[in-house]
Symmetry: C2
Subunit: 111 residues, 2 copies
């Protein structure tokens, strides 16, 4: 099925996972996957959290962000992906002066 | 972890899943997910196949493509995603005059 984000409603999540400011997200979800197109404005972030029973794959469409992944601080640039396997932790921080946009998938995995 | 596609080797897959011409793919894979950045030139395609035990999520980065999904012919435009849940079938056909580029995730799902 086609997921046309231009026709999806925007959900505003305040302090998502304990992060700063707001995340603007368009999401499709079933029992197997969450599929999202999200925007973080300058200074906004997704808080640090652990993927206990699933994982996350992010593709950076616009801008770049700081990612703390386990004990490492990384830079996620436009055109790159970030992968957080099950059992690992991360955040996503827009520490830049521009809005960032990213595509993300959170699959419920085979154990 | 960061997946920097600009530093990954390109694999050329001829007639992928029975499709036409070649697919150029940069891939990261572990036992849970395949994460890919792929290019199809005009006339190239991924053949029609069924996702028996996994699923696929595609985000179209550049260009647009025809997708046959079960018994329906769809258009996947730039900025849209395509989702093929487990048990469903699809192809991906570059029937345009321009190269297309897309990001794809194939997770091994909880049953």
């Amino acid at each position: 099925m086609i997921l046309d984000f231009s026709k999806m409603e925007v959900t505003v999540l305040k302090n998502f996972k304990g992060g700063a400011k707001e995340m603007f997200v368009k999401m499709f979800a079933d029992d197997k996957n969450k599929i999202m197109l999200s925007v973080l404005k300058p200074g906004a972030s997704i808080g640090y959290h652990k993927h206990e029973n699933n994982c996350e794959i992010i593709f950076m469409i616009k801008g770049n962000a700081m990612v703390n992944y386990d004990n490492e601080t990384l830079r996620l640039n436009n055109g790159q992906a970030f992968y957080c396997p099950m059992g690992h932790s991360h955040d996503l921080v827009n520490d830049t002066e521009d809005e960032i946009m990213f595509f993300a998938v959170v699959p419920e995995l085979a154990q």
